[in-house]
């Protein structure tokens, strides 16, 4: 099969729409993963009877099953069961965010554990309120150290977004498929979609590596 430059260029606007959706998915999903992961990590660290165990079970369950099955379960089972109907995009954001939160929570936990015990003790000796110990002492030390690891999960999430095609999210892969269906030429759109992932992921991972060198790793 020959490569048709004209067709490749023509399919770009359609693909660009999909690329935008893919980037939006990744950003929104990452934000959710960062916040929810932090909540999971703090709840587990606080060792609240009951709640900490529930979070532990959620984390273990999600980490032990494939993302695609979680997406299907959330979209086709859970949503009808609780009587809500979210858009495929929103379903994707939540599924990605919750899935990756179970990984980021482990990253935060490592970051929190890496804060020396003496910091907690000094905070206690100064009678600092508990909330302030977290927001003023522990997290400002733990979070910068975990930023590279969080960045890696964002890259990894970005590369997994195409599986949301399965519930009809109109991302870059879906647009490529669409273009191919119209013209029966699939090489150009799929190749361009692949190049798009490469052009975003590779510089992003170089950035993360630079960040790692600056803040060190946990």
């Amino acid at each position: 099969m020959d490569w048709d430059w004209g067709y490749a260029v023509d399919s770009l606007p359609l693909l660009a729409e999909g690329m935008l959706v893919t980037l939006e998915l990744t950003l929104a999903g990452s934000l959710l993963a960062y916040l929810l992961g932090l909540v999971f990590a703090v709840i587990r660290q606080l060792r609240i009877p009951g709640l900490s165990q529930i979070v532990f079970l959620i984390v273990e369950f999600i980490r032990s099953t494939p993302l695609l099955i979680q997406v299907f379960a959330f979209f086709y089972l859970l949503q009808p069961a609780i009587g809500v109907k979210l858009s495929p995009f929103l379903t994707g954001v939540i599924a990605l965010g919750v899935h990756y939160a179970t990984y980021t929570s482990e990253v935060y936990r490592a970051g929190i554990d890496a804060v020396p015990k003496g910091q907690w003790e000094a905070a206690t000796a100064l009678s600092l309120p508990r909330g302030r110990v977290w927001t003023g002492i522990i997290l400002p030390q733990a979070v910068p150290r975990v930023l590279p690891a969080l960045g890696n999960y964002t890259i990894s999430m970005f590369k997994e977004t195409p599986l949301l095609l399965a519930i009809g999210v109109v991302d870059v892969l879906n647009r490529a498929k669409e273009a191919g269906a119209e013209t029966f030429r699939v090489i150009e759109p799929y190749t361009l979609a692949g190049v798009f992932f490469l052009l975003v992921s590779y510089p992003a991972s170089i950035l993360v590596r630079k960040l790692e060198r600056r803040v060190g790793t946990v």
Binding site: P116, A122, A125, L126, L128, R130, I137
Partner: protein, 267 residues
Amino acid sequence: MSEPYSSPSADVMIQFDRVVKKFGDHVVLRELNFSVKPGEFVTLIGPSGSGKTTILRLLMTLEQVDGGTIQVCGDYLSHMQRGGRFVPADERYLRARRKRIGMVFQQFNLFPNMNVLQNVTEAPVRSLGLSKADAAERARDLLDMVGLSDKVQAHPMRLSGGQQQRVAIARALAMRPQVLLLDEVTSALDPELVAGVLSVLKEIARTTDITFLCVTHEMQFARDVSDRVMMFDKGQVIEDAPPEQLFTQPAHERTRSFLHAVIDRSG
């Protein structure tokens, strides 16, 4: 020896009553009794593992007792009264009691995400509710006293160990504690930085009415500033005397051999 749960007289700042502390099967403190008067400077000496640091950590509520009671300023630290019964103290009760007690640690434990001034103002603002301006004024006075008025904006990690420890002393004093616990505060310092920290502490002991409980291996310092020195061994006070007496005529053989070993080591 005093009765358990005895009400302390106004003349007692710290009272340990049959205090037991274990780590697993290892008994660190066995039915320990002692008291400290307001304004007294008491130094704890003894071999490592004799329970000295544990005493400070119990007072700072970093550890909980396994038996007996501790009182500070007439309030139970380990227990609180609820419905006429003694129950283990909860976090809220402890937080209120802790404000009277300050601690300076061997490893300084300054907050590395804050500059020197923020380290010192953090607790007065967050724990005592001082305005930022008042806390900053208090902090500047204290940093001046410990000789670091030119390091107010510095990052703690850029300071020498001795400077860091002086910031930690200012940070503890900013809470205006009635009791200050000094846990081997010069042990992590390079030898040439020890004197600066000790002279700051001497000055504080001389000019304030803070009650000090100090664990140190600096025998000359202990001799200079202490009102009383307690020799510990195996979780018990085996000798309790004014420094001139304890250092020159120790009554107990164990004290004698300990002092010999320490003084030999420091030359």
